[in-house]
Amino acid sequence: MDFDFSADEKRFIEEVRAFLREQALLPDAADVMAPNRDSDSMLSDTPARRRFNREMAKRGYLGMSWPKEYGGSEKSGIYEYLLNEELARVGAPLIGKGIGIVGKTLIRHGSDKLKTEFLPQIRNAEIEFALGYSEPGAGSDLASLKLKAERSGDGWLFNGQKIWNTSAHFADWYWLAARTDTQVAKHKGISLFLVPMNQKGITVSAIHTLGEHRTNHVFLDNVWVHDDYRVGELNKGWTYISEALDFERFTIYPFSPLEAKLEQMWTHVKSTQRNGKPLTAVPEIRRQMARLVAQVETAKMLQRSVIFSASQGGVPTVEASMCKLYTTALSQRLANTMIDILGADGLLHKSWPDAPDGGKWEWLYRSSALETIGAGTSEIQKNIIARRGLGLPLTN
């Protein structure tokens, strides 16, 4: 039994940290590394972010787990996890859906044409994707999606709408799930497509969120794409979506931001006095902090359980659900505790010069509300644990 990372993994962590220290010295660093806003820098299109991603590509950090024939280095997925942990710690953009969901699905199921066209661009950080999954009537119950794809000449004609498509306003290509068969069970009639975003018939309209970032509503009106841009087999879309989620599970919930937030809480609690007494001497605050310390350690353990299971070649579906469920609720508790500790000052927005920690906590208290909803709500995670982990005969 060994909880340590291997010597090579530790070397890699140090290498990434050195890289990030260099990057932090560049003039545009504040646009890419914003630990006070988690990794929100990845949600908007800035020259700094594009430059940073190209630098990541140059260092060979994009596609580490890909096969060599596609320009990868065939490393274990744990390296991508470790990379994301370090990126998340400094609030830099994480390696994202291009390398993971799009790239890995194309490698497994894409035609030679799609592989040749997209994989080099992904690896070189020359292309941006938006995922088109959810619809106004299909969120947790994603398989009930309705956006229609109908045969039209050599290709397909799309009509319908998507929602929560973050980065759709600057993406080059759309990774789109559409209904290709209405006569079969709902999850057996879905196919995946790649669709260029810059064409007539696609309307992207902004949705502004509580977390102060932009996501989008996307409308497709007689949008056409050639059949060459269908991904894998017809009507296998649901399988591909689930599979992609499974191999992404252990890179999407980095633990380091929680740890960093807890450290920042300590800094505040240790340096602040109330009624002439340091906050560290207030029994209620001591108790809350002790509990958070214990809970953050528990979150780390649940994350380790995911990594370990993945490193054994398993698909850590249940472990990842456990980790997501626990970590996201903890993140909200942590923000709530800290804003309570700050008192009224905790309400100050980041645009106020003296807002505590640059308004981080006020923002986090808002933005963390999404965590228990996005990428599978807590209720869906519990369904997964109950069904797949405990074998309960759960009906919805």
């Binding site: 909880f3 240790k270 002790a290 528990t298 380790r304 370990f308 209720e379 369904n383 644990i385 405990l390």
Partner: protein, 386 residues
């Protein structure tokens, strides 16, 4: 990272599980509850025959010399079976104290005999109304020409009716840490013991000490205050207790899950309802987190890392989790879960014991805070922020 037990460790787990199944099924626990001496002689003998009573005692002192990971594995099985014996108090806690603070004569007198199961040594730390702080220890040890004269009352002294001796923590001065440890023969004049009826109906006793003379030869650490050594022994012991909580919770949870699959209401198994399934899923997450916490603590200790903080976290989290799990287990069983005939109550009562005895949540939270404050000030002193 590798979280798999070695082949030897898996064998140890299987063997312990078999011994528990053979000698300590719940039917035996039900017969033993509230009786004296409160554990099964057959089970204890089986453990002794397997060398378990010397599990973590050094080879040179007659034990197997195994580490915290093995201790965790064994205690997780004890917890799963609700298999009770003097193992924790004697072979883990007392043996640890004697081996770190005993002189040669004391080690030779006690360690091989604890390892062989010939002697059972209990621990007297808690007092009436007392908490877990050292300052709560009021039992006094006054220096005499030949040793100490002990006066005071100890509560929750496990298996005192069978124990050959107990390590008694006693105060020699007014400073918080002025606490020494004496090996007291419980048959000595002035010692009286009385069974204390309790929540889990375990064999715990009040030990009253009225001017009990203890020889200087029975003072651990030569009669020097030993707060640090006591805490170190406890931190190690926490790993075993947290492991018991994980084992007990896993079994209680498995019972509840099985019940939810077969018990029907409104024409369906109750496990098909989200209200039931989600509460079982929540608990499953807590159990997984705690299982990992305990493993990490055992690993850190075996590696020689500073393990106190992770051990305290493991015990805090695992015992709270066990308590919650046992509550959910009763809830899922419904009315039958509230009866004495059904098993959930056995876990429910022991979960609370594990949580409150041997450093309760309040005490552990304070220890965790103190350790973190110390660590973070050391970090900033070295300018190593982040």
């Amino acid at each position: 990272m590798d979280l798999i037990f070695s082949e030897e460790q898996q064998m140890l787990r299987d063997m312990t599980r078999r011994l528990c199944e053979d000698f300590a099924p719940l039917t035996v626990l039900r017969q033993l509850e509230g009786t004296e001496p409160g554990y099964s002689d057959d089970f204890w003998k089986a453990l002794i025959d397997a060398g378990m009573s010397g599990l973590t005692i050094a080879d040179k002192d007659g034990g197997l010399g195994l580490g915290a990971t093995e201790m965790m594995i064994v205690h997780e099985e004890f917890g799963r079976a609700l298999a009770f014996s003097p193992h924790f108090v004697s072979s883990v806690l007392a043996a640890h104290l004697i081996s770190t603070t005993g002189n040669t004569a004391q080690r030779q007198r006690w360690l091989p005999s604890i390892a062989s199961g010939q002697s059972i040594v209990s621990i007297g730390s808690l007092e009436p109304q007392g908490g877990h702080e050292l300052s709560d220890i009021q039992c006094s040890a006054k220096r005499t020409a030949t040793g100490y004269r002990l006066s005071g009352t100890k509560h929750f002294v496990a298996y005192a009716a069978r124990a050959h001796a107990a390590v008694i923590l006693a105060r020699v001065g007014t400073a918080t840490d002025d606490v020494i440890a004496l090996l007291v023969d419980l048959k000595s004049p002035g010692v009286s013991i009385q069974y204390q009826p309790n929540h889990a109906r375990e064999a715990v006793y009040q030990v009253t000490l009225r001017d009990v003379d203890v020889s200087i030869e029975d003072a651990l650490k030569d009669g020097q205050p030993m707060a640090t050594e006591w805490q170190d022994a406890m931190y190690s012991g926490l790993i075993a207790l947290a492991a018991q909580a994980v084992g007990g919770a896993e079994r209680a949870h498995a019972m509840a899950v099985e019940y939810a699959k077969v018990r029907e209401a409104f024409g369906k198994p109750i496990g098909s309802f989200q209200a039931v399934a989600h509460s079982l899923a929540d608990v499953a997450v807590d159990i997984e987190g705690c299982r990992m916490l305990v493993r990490q603590a055992a690993w850190a200790k075996d590696r020689g890392y500073d393990f106190h903080r992770v051990a305290a976290i493991a015990k805090l989290q695992a015992c709270e989790m066990y308590r919650r799990t046992a509550g959910v287990t009763i809830q899922v069983h419904g009315g039958i879960g509230f009866t004495n005939d059904a098993d959930p109550q056995l876990f429910f009562r022991r979960a609370k014991h594990l949580q409150l005895l041997h450093w309760d949540s309040d005490y552990l939270e304070e220890r965790i805070i103190e350790m973190v404050l110390q660590e973070t000030s050391e970090l900033s002193a070295h300018g190593a922020n982040g």
